[in-house]
């Protein structure tokens, strides 16, 4: 049963140095507040897992919190490059970053396998591309037709952190809008934290509502605005201007560090 605690307590309880951590949210509901708190708490050597690293992982990589990145698309959507991600891979700054990359379909099915507690999932994909030689997939033959398909290994992160619109006092969570792979990430992980825009007396069923019951979640923390500059549909709006500004802020190492110190590391909750 999910415990309702503060963001600081929740992050301290679920993330340790060296953990594999999935902060998910596909463009929508990206858990920035939790990621920032994790940086303020000084977590290091993390294996960061996310389909779309986005600005949040650019920040986490840039301050040197990550040992490894598992991902499928490392861009600033609609804007261009993630400069800290590129700098880490191209120049090893601020330190070496191990990379394990997949396609979106592969990552999604890895989460499905993880949520199903199966060791792998079967799909069509990867074959004939150079990704096969650079990642952890295997060929598998259909036992009925003989067709060769691709097996992707399950993702079962130590920790999953996602953001949602609301939770009730029993820690039942509801999110709506683009649902991404959040349910799968929570079900696949050993430990989980859901940050929410608001705590409500009762979850009212909504169109497109995805409910995650409190008894499969470890912690719920109230973090209004906690997915900004991403957004929580119906409550906050995506700050597209900031996504564009980030292209400038993150281009230069020093400017990035100054910004992070001013806006994240020295910020509230530090």
């Amino acid at each position: 049963m999910a415990e309702l605690v503060s963001l600081q307590e929740a992050v301290a309880a679920v993330v340790k140095d060296g953990d594999s951590v999935a902060l998910e949210g596909f463009t929508h509901l990206i858990p920035f507040a939790a990621g920032h708190e994790l940086l303020r708490q000084g977590r290091r050597e993390l294996e960061l897992i996310r389909m779309t690293p986005d600005l949040l992982y650019d920040q986490m990589i840039g301050v040197g919190a990550a040992r490894k990145l598992v991902f499928s698309y490392g861009g600033n959507p609609g804007v261009g490059s993630l400069h800290r991600f590129r700098d880490a891979i191209e120049h090893g700054w601020p330190g070496p970053l191990e990379v394990e990359e997949h396609s979106h379909a592969g990552m999604a099915n890895r989460y499905v396998a993880g949520a199903s507690k199966l060791p792998f999932m079967v799909m069509r994909g990867y074959s004939g591309t150079d990704l096969v030689a650079h990642t952890n997939v295997r060929q598998i033959a259909c036992p009925f037709t003989g067709e060769l398909l691709t097996a992707v290994p399950a993702l079962n992160p130590d920790v999953a952190i996602v953001h949602a619109q609301e939770a009730d006092r029993d820690g039942n969570v509801q999110l709506w809008g683009i649902p991404g792979v959040q349910k799968e990430a929570v079900l696949a992980a050993d430990r989980s934290l859901v940050t929410v825009e608001r705590i409500v007396e009762r979850l009212e069923p909504r169109p497109g509502g995805v409910v995650i019951p409190g008894w499969v979640i470890d912690y719920v923390a109230h973090a209004p605005g906690g997915s900004q500059p991403s957004y929580a549909l119906g409550i906050t709006e995506r700050d597209n201007d900031f996504y564009r500004e980030w292209d400038v802020i993150s281009r230069d190492r020093e400017q990035f560090q100054v910004w992070m110190q001013a806006h994240v590391l020295g910020g509230e909750g530090a």
Binding site: T27, V79, H104, R124, G125, L131, R238
Partner: protein, 237 residues
């Protein structure tokens, strides 16, 4: 790319978008990413094909955005979609089995077989430029029946040999550039259409391999007033 074409009232980028939009006339559904493909697909809904179903990999099926979205997950996409599905469902039930007819894809490098690189420039382990990576492209390109590649025409993009093979090109039906249109003929991209004012030599010069040219070359119709006005109104929303 946004240079004004000689003797015209439009940019080459506008023409490229308009040609891409035309390719969606009569199509049922199209998978699109952000940027020019998204603009082209929205334009197609305005000018050629109001029933065209737009599918974004964020999970929004039948999205009807008023403005060109910045990201594939903008709120307006979810709010206007016929249905919104999880990412696993998107790839397993919609993309993989070919429920979506056409896909618009971009890439940093394209080879003569329409294979695409969006992973790295240079060596994989020590890249000169680390690109975003595969995203949904590999499975989109093998799931959808028809793939339309939209890319700027130049030797950095149209290369003899990809630095990394991210996405297979065997389902590509059109490559729409700012100079013309290439189509596969016996598995090799062949110049079939020139944009107005562009010469075969210009296209060959901008291609990193010895480009095949069709016996009969068409010329893209000039953008109509309606197309241009609709495009400009759309991007200014």
């Amino acid at each position: 790319m946004s240079a004004v074409a000689p003797d015209s009232g439009y940019t080459t980028g506008e023409l490229q978008t308009i040609v891409a939009a035309r390719s969606l006339a009569g199509k049922r559904s199209c998978f699109i990413g952000v940027g020019r493909p998204s603009t082209a697909a929205l334009l197609a809904r305005i000018v050629h094909n109001p029933k065209l179903v737009l599918v974004y990999e964020s999970g929004t099926i039948g999205a009807k955005p008023h403005r060109v979205p910045l990201s594939i997950g903008d709120g307006e996409l979810a709010q206007t979609a016929d249905l919104v599905v999880s990412v696993p469902e998107m790839f397993n039930y919609w993309i993989g089995p070919g429920q979506v007819q056409v896909a618009f894809l971009g890439a940093a490098q394209v080879d003569r077989h329409a294979n695409l690189n969006s992973t790295v420039i240079g060596d994989y382990d020590h890249p000169r430029t680390r690109l975003p990576g595969a995203g949904g492209a590999p499975e989109i390109a093998t799931g959808c029946a028809e793939v339309v590649v939209i890319a700027p025409h130049g030797r950095r993009t149209f290369v003899e040999r990809l630095d990394f093979m991210t996405t297979r090109g065997e389902r590509t039906t059109l490559v729409i550039t700012d100079l013309g249109v290439l189509e596969p003929r016996d598995g090799e991209l062949t110049l079939t259409t020139l944009h107005p004012g562009v010469t075969v030599e210009q296209v060959q010069e901008a291609t990193g391999w010895d480009l095949r040219v069709a016996d009969q070359i068409a010329v893209s119709p000039q953008p109509s007033e309606r197309e241009l006005a609709a495009l400009r109104e759309l991007v200014n929303r």
